[in-house]
Structures are given as structure tokens and as C-alpha cells.
Symmetry: C2
Subunit: 131 residues, 2 copies
Amino acid sequence: MGTPQLTKNQSLVMGALAHSDGPMSAYTILDKLRDQGFRAPLQVYRALDKLLEYGLVHRLESLNAFVACTCPHEHEHDHGVTAFTICEGCGQVTEFHDEAIEQRLSALVRAQSFKTEKTTIEIRGHCKSCA
Amino acid sequence: MGTPQLTKNQSLVMGALAHSDGPMSAYTILDKLRDQGFRAPLQVYRALDKLLEYGLVHRLESLNAFVACTCPHEHEHDHGVTAFTICEGCGQVTEFHDEAIEQRLSALVRAQSFKTEKTTIEIRGHCKSCA
DNA sequence: ATCGCACACGTTATAGCATAACGCAATTGA
DNA sequence: TCAATTGCGTTATGCTATAACGTGTGCGAT
């Protein structure tokens, strides 16, 4: 169960995200792809759903926006929790992973008998350049 | 610099959230307060902005919804990072805090020379009852 | 082969979330 | 008294996301 071949729309959306230097909203992606024949939000959202499912793209909940995954080889083995720093100045997003946090969260949640399906960690602030 | 006296609108919104057993969207709050004279979304959003600022309310980014803070006495001293479990079944939200996670995140972020302003941690899944 | 199914796609319409921009009223402090 | 601040009310608008419909294509089972 690797990543299937992407469809045309999925490739176009993936390309738009990959070549962007920051997160993009679905509607921004739509505008970028009008010349390639995109006309409606659903074309973007349907592609994004699949890309999210394949782990090629992340959704930033606090921005209602999407970024290409920057760990291109971790898609195979589900790589646990993903965290992000998001700079309010330049919009730069940095993805990172940490075993310690993952295990600590896992323990806390288990203590509630809670079954985790998806974990969101997003840190808003200012990066080194924008401080 | 404690929490100022709440205005009428702020009290109404706070009350609606406090008496709800789960998170509410701004529009749901609006509907609950129509009998009290609320007519427009901005009346809710303006009150929410202040309540968020005072630390009486939290915003759940992954739901676009709001909950009353369940740690009523921690508003004075800024109580670092707040995390939530959110049950997809019953909608129950549990707020919790953990020093270890806070310190670990702080260290990771400092390594990027990133200056944190707000941290979001939200865990979607199923609670014990809804497993 | 052809039937049925799953899946991607296209389109229109609508629902849900959030803010811009205007003006008014009350409060406060110089 | 005047200016600044804050809260409030209203209208309009913009941004984000999904519902519901139908089409076409590939592919395996009978």
C-alpha cells in the first residue's frame, strides 16, 4: 500500500504546493491552476483530500491552508505526529517531528483512555529573520 | 492586570459557552443569544476576541469553534501551553496542561531561534465512552 | 461481451466561518 | 471642553468548505 499514481488534478495541486515557498489556501491553489483548466473549488478540495490521505500534504488548521510535506520519504511508514512552526512575519512554515513529545502525548492521552486519530501541533510566532 | 469586568455582550457569550457541554461555533452562539438581542456575527466575534484575550475562552482551530476554559483560576498567571482532546463521537473536549511537553517544545523551537507566540495542540479521536 | 462497480471528474448551488467599513454612544483623562 | 478609547449596532462582503447532481472511464466477475 504505497502511494498510488497521482491523477492529473492531484499532480497539478501537488505541483502548485511543492513549488510554493509557503502554505496556500485551497482558493489560492484554485487561482494558480485556472490556466490549467481548474474552475471550481471542489476540484482542489478533492485532490487535497487524496494528497492528505497519502501523506504528501499537510493541513495547517490554524491557517486553513495546506503545505507540501517536507519529509518526502516518510510517507510509507506512518510517521506519527507532525508539528509546525509558522512565522507570522514571512509565512515560512517548518515541519518537525519529535519522539519525546509523541510519547509524552501518547501517555497522557492513554491515561484518559482516549484513542488518538489525528494530532495537530502548530506553533505561531516569529522566525529568526522576522524577530 | 487581572480580568476586567465583562461587558454585557461578553457576559452573555461567556455564559453561553460556560453552560454548553461542548464547543460552539460563533454562529451557534449567535443563535443561542438571539433572544437576548444578538443580531449579527460581529457581536459574537467581538466578545470572543476579548474573552480569548482574557484567557477565559479557548479557540479550537481544528473545529473553528470555542470552549470555555476549564481552569478558571489559571487566568492570572499565563499558564503556558494548553492542549485538548476532542472526541469525534460525542464532541467532548478535555483541556489539559503538561510541563514536560511545554519544555520540550520550547527547546525544539529555541533551536530554530523561533519566538513562540501561541501554541496549538489538538488531538482528535474517540473518548473512552465512544471507542 | 457486458454488466456492475468503484473512482475520478465537472458543474451549480449552497452552507458555514470571519471581517471590513461605517456611524453612534459612553467613558476617561488632559 | 476636547480628544482618545472602547464598546456597540448594522450592512455588506469575503473567504472556506461541502452537498447534490450527472458524466465518463477502467476493470473484474459472470
